[in-house]
């Protein structure tokens, strides 16, 4: 697959995943925080049934950048850890594989609180 083809597939798949979330917010009044929780759990489920890796091959960042990818990453880490360490991997795998994302978000948050001041909202 050439890069332009890949980018088109990425754009469409990523867009559709976001539109589903937007429709859930607008039609069911699910709060954004619930959407994030739902999508992470959904990512684990999609990975668990074996659908995520084939999807990622086709759509690339279109499925891995949305929070579904974050969930799938947790599931992948759990599977690898169970393969390697057995039962204890159930507990260690999830945080290990998602460590980079969580740690960087928390640290950038802390740094932002050092560096920036909040500005009042404008309409």
């Amino acid at each position: 697959m050439s890069i332009p083809q890949q980018l088109i597939l990425t754009f469409i798949s990523g867009g559709i995943i976001c539109v589903i979330a937007q429709l859930l917010i607008d039609l069911t009044r699910l709060t954004p925080a619930r959407i994030l929780v739902l999508y992470v759990s959904l990512g684990v489920l999609i990975f668990a049934v074996g659908a995520f890796e084939p999807m990622q091959k086709i759509f690339g960042a279109g499925v891995s950048v949305p929070l579904i990818g974050f969930g799938a990453n947790i599931a992948k880490g759990v599977r690898e850890a169970v393969d390697k360490d057995g039962l204890i991997g159930v507990l260690t795998g999830g945080l290990t594989s998602s460590a980079a994302g969580i740690t960087s978000a928390l640290l950038f948050g802390l740094f932002a609180s050092f560096l920036f001041k909040t500005k009042s909202k404008r309409m």
Binding site: P32, T118, S120, K121, R122, M123
Partner: protein, 336 residues
Amino acid sequence: MKNRITKLKTPIHFRSWASVGGYEERRGPLGDKFDFCDTSDKFGQKTWEIAEAEMGRIALNTSLSKVGLSHTDLELLVAGDLQNQCVASSTGLSSFGIPFLGVYGACSTCTESIMMLSSFIDSSDNMKIGAALTTSHNSAAERQFRTPVEYGGQRAPTAQWTSTAAGAFLLERGRGDVMITEYMPGRIIDGSTADGTNMGGAMAFSAFDSITAYFEESGEDIHNIDYIVTGDLGKVGSDILKELLSKELPGAERLHTDCGLLLYDMKNQDAHSGASGCGTSASVLACHFLPMLADGKLRRILFLSTGALMSPSSLLQGENIYGIAPLIRLESGKEN
């Protein structure tokens, strides 16, 4: 229900008033009429909470200096805001050294505080002058009730914009250009919705309850009233109230106007359903309605700040929002 309306025995007038706002308030159609606006919304302070306190202090001092009074001339302060435990008022007024009553009526605080102050003056033998103050700050309220200031989210079309605004009122025994003649506390009315993004809709029924109760008990002819002014029903709440009034009190719906629809330009400012927050009715009363009453352009108005009674916890727990709409009757002193 009987005897909800109290007619004041002694004449009490608005000796002075002042309004202070922030950036969006300055941009709105009433922007020129505010006594002072800080377009940084910070009022020179480090936190949004203290900014709100300072805004209130500026409003009260402005109302005092307009008539050459000092804070030591005041005998009682009745003040409220939207922060937890009403702390903006107590912080902002801590240096005044005057007897203080902190009140909480959600966005109905303006009317509630004016009502209480006039009742105190009316029932006292020698008390002469006091001040009522109401503040709300968009950023302080967003932090407390909704999301962090920098959080990226979409607001529902029914949502309202909490104003960064303060209104201060000096009430004095005796006759003057603007008189308060009657007051009527509101009842707690179930808004029948737990949707925190639709407070205007939830409050409309309490405004309807107070307005109909007032005309029923007083027997007043609606033609004697120039305006029925509600606090912050916004577009949604105003439409509901107008529909209810047109059935129950035909003609009254044409007298209705809402501070939440006056503070911002509903076309060019993205306020969605309008302004909310207790500073809305306080600042619009101070910069818009009181000057018109003082000039004799308006003769009599009914003024009802509308409050949505809820907390972040009650919303998360799915409890309904309750509305309350205390009413005061204001008259121009000019015609007498």
